[in-house]
Amino acid sequence: MNGENYTTLEFPSRSANESFARTAAACFAAQLDPTLEEINDIKTAVSEAVTNAIVHGYPDRVGKIKMRLKIKENQVLEIVVRDWGVGIADVEQARTPMFTTGGEERSGMGFTIMESFMDTLRVRSVPGKGTTVTMRRRISCRIGR
């Protein structure tokens, strides 16, 4: 498929939207004809990014989350998850495996999973202003496409 395509979703930071966001991302990615493994990797990474925004971006209130999905050149899917919440003071520390400030239902593996399931991960955060997570994944070109 050639040419850019994109969509943007906006939803409140309610945990019921974790499932909605990853399913929506999978539906959008479907136009790149991904394998089941690629779809599962994208769903898992989106689930982590959106959960982080819900749990850590807005710990005490319901706020706005925006997810932008974009198809770029060479079958690259770009996913941007943005919140306007509390932000992360130390991004490096937050990206450390097993580090978490969340409750016992959190494992501290969110960023590690995003990193290993996607090709690139960029995290920009300003305390008090919010966090933007940008992930990219190239979908393989299959024979006979």
């Binding site: 898992t44 819900i54 016992e104 239902e105 959190r106 494992s107 969110g110």
Partner: protein
């Protein structure tokens, strides 16, 4: 998401079905705790063959259950995990700590 527990002679099977994420994890942990406290199993099999998706919440659930079983001086194994679930668990190195038997689904 659903949890179905069966028990016989302090051998418990806990089957988790549906999708597991942060939205469902706390509820599942509390339900598992309650079942373990009631049944005090010596052997626990966590059956994930009905689990269609998990994110890192699944890591937290399995680690907590593993620790609870250690407190009860029991053993725990996991069966039926999908490729997607195993990929998540292996990222955290869970396969070095917990016994997985996933013959059918790799």
């Amino acid at each position: 998401m659903a949890l179905i527990c069966t028990e016989e002679n302090r051998r418990m099977t806990a089957a988790v079905e549906g999708e597991l994420d942060h939205h469902r994890a706390k509820e599942l942990m509390e339900e598992l705790d309650r079942r373990l406290d009631e049944g005090l199993p010596r052997e626990l099999t966590v059956d994930l063959s009905g689990l269609t998706f998990t994110d890192s919440s699944g890591i937290a659930v399995l680690l907590r259950t593993y620790r609870r079983m250690a407190e009860l001086e029991g053993t725990m194994e996991v069966v039926g995990a999908s490729k997607q679930a195993m990929r998540v668990f292996q990222t955290a190195g869970l396969d070095r700590l917990i016994r997985f038997h996933n013959k059918d689904k790799g």
